[in-house]
């Protein structure tokens, strides 16, 4: 039984721990956006107590876009301090690399909706050019993704996927 998410208030600050995944295909990165937000970000979600970040990513992406994969590797971790709707946040973001060749059920349509219809999530494969001209949050994420796209990573492979 999944325990509660790591999401609590300390000294009026909201603290949470998040796991997000970088899935790159043909020099595009899968990004998500909630309908009510005006920014795009990496798919993922809050880590639950006693849950490994890898398990969080597997759980969240299964729930949101129906994919399965055995494992992923941690890429980076960031401390993310920000203010949103008058609330100060202290977040730890754990970023994982997911190899698209090891994923089953990945949709390769340019844009598609998340499975959980009430969550109203949109997904989009973004090129470097699109990332540059899109509103992305957190503020440092854009540079991080552009660095990734331009680096010579072994993980960057062509992907096989399904079309809806």
């Amino acid at each position: 039984m999944k325990k509660s998410d790591i999401n609590f208030v300390l000294d009026n600050i909201k603290v949470n721990c998040r796991a997000v995944g970088i899935i790159a295909n043909n020099d595009m990165i899968l990004m998500q956006k909630r309908q009510r937000d005006n920014f795009w970000t990496l798919p993922g979600g809050k880590i639950a107590l006693l849950e490994k970040g890898e398990e969080t990513i597997q759980r969240e992406l299964k729930e949101e876009i129906g994919i399965d994969f055995e494992n992923c590797t941690m890429y980076n971790v960031k401390e993310n301090f920000f203010k949103f709707e008058n609330q100060q946040y202290h977040e730890f973001i754990f970023m994982y690399l997911i190899n698209p060749n090891q994923v089953t059920g990945l949709c390769i349509d340019k844009e598609f909706d998340g499975i959980e219809t009430q969550k109203k999530l949109q997904f989009r494969w973004m090129t470097e050019k699109e990332l540059l001209s899109t509103e992305i949050a957190p503020t440092w994420l854009k540079d991080e993704l552009l660095t990734y796209l331009n680096a010579d990573f072994k993980g960057k492979t062509k992907m096989l996927g399904r079309k809806l």
């Binding site: 790591i6 300390l10 000294d11 721990c17 107590l49 590797t73 941690m74 401390e79 202290h90 754990f94």
Partner: protein, 165 residues
């Protein structure tokens, strides 16, 4: 201040975030422990809310050792660590940093010494790198992580201790 520590119990699990320093000099690593503890750990402490891990290190080294001439060379590792202690289940994140301390600082004078905060009850000891694997240090993965730190890559570890069920 303890109230600001990221150290909470949610759903019967204790969640905390620690920042620790890897200080290596003359092939020896500095460890600390409270007088009553069995195992030694890397120096550092719990991260405060709104505090960067690097600032935790700076604060703790000043508070506990009174040292001023040191620099944080780089971020070394993040570990997610699940274990049991004193009947509690822990979900802990440890952020470690490579720290170089100026050779003139007092901490290099003795093999073992006390920390400066009287009420904290802290002991310090230099452990030779070659003897880390057998040393009474926690977490279990720390010895290997310190040995690997010379590769200059950021390390990521996920470790669940056997007794944590």
């Amino acid at each position: 201040m303890k109230e600001k520590d990221i150290n909470v119990v949610i759903d019967n699990v204790r969640l905390n975030c620690r920042a620790v320093a890897v200080i290596i000099e003359n092939d020896k690593v500095l460890f600390q422990k409270r007088k009553q503890d069995q195992f030694w750990a890397l120096p550092g402490g719990k991260i405060h809310v709104l505090e960067k891990g690097e600032d935790t290190i700076k604060r703790e080294l000043k508070e506990e050792l009174g040292i001023k001439d040191f620099s944080i060379e780089r971020f070394n590792s993040v570990s997610e660590y699940f274990f049991g202690f004193d009947t509690e289940k822990y979900h802990q994140y440890i952020f470690s940093y490579i720290v170089s301390v100026d050779e003139h600082e007092w901490i290099f004078q003795k093999e073992e010494f006390d920390g400066i905060e009287e009420n904290e009850n802290l002991l310090y000891k230099w452990f030779p790198l070659a003897e880390l694997k057998e040393a009474p240090i926690k977490p279990d993965f720390i010895a290997e992580q310190i040995m690997n730190s010379k590769n200059n890559n950021i390390q990521f570890i996920s470790y669940t201790e056997e007794n944590s069920i």
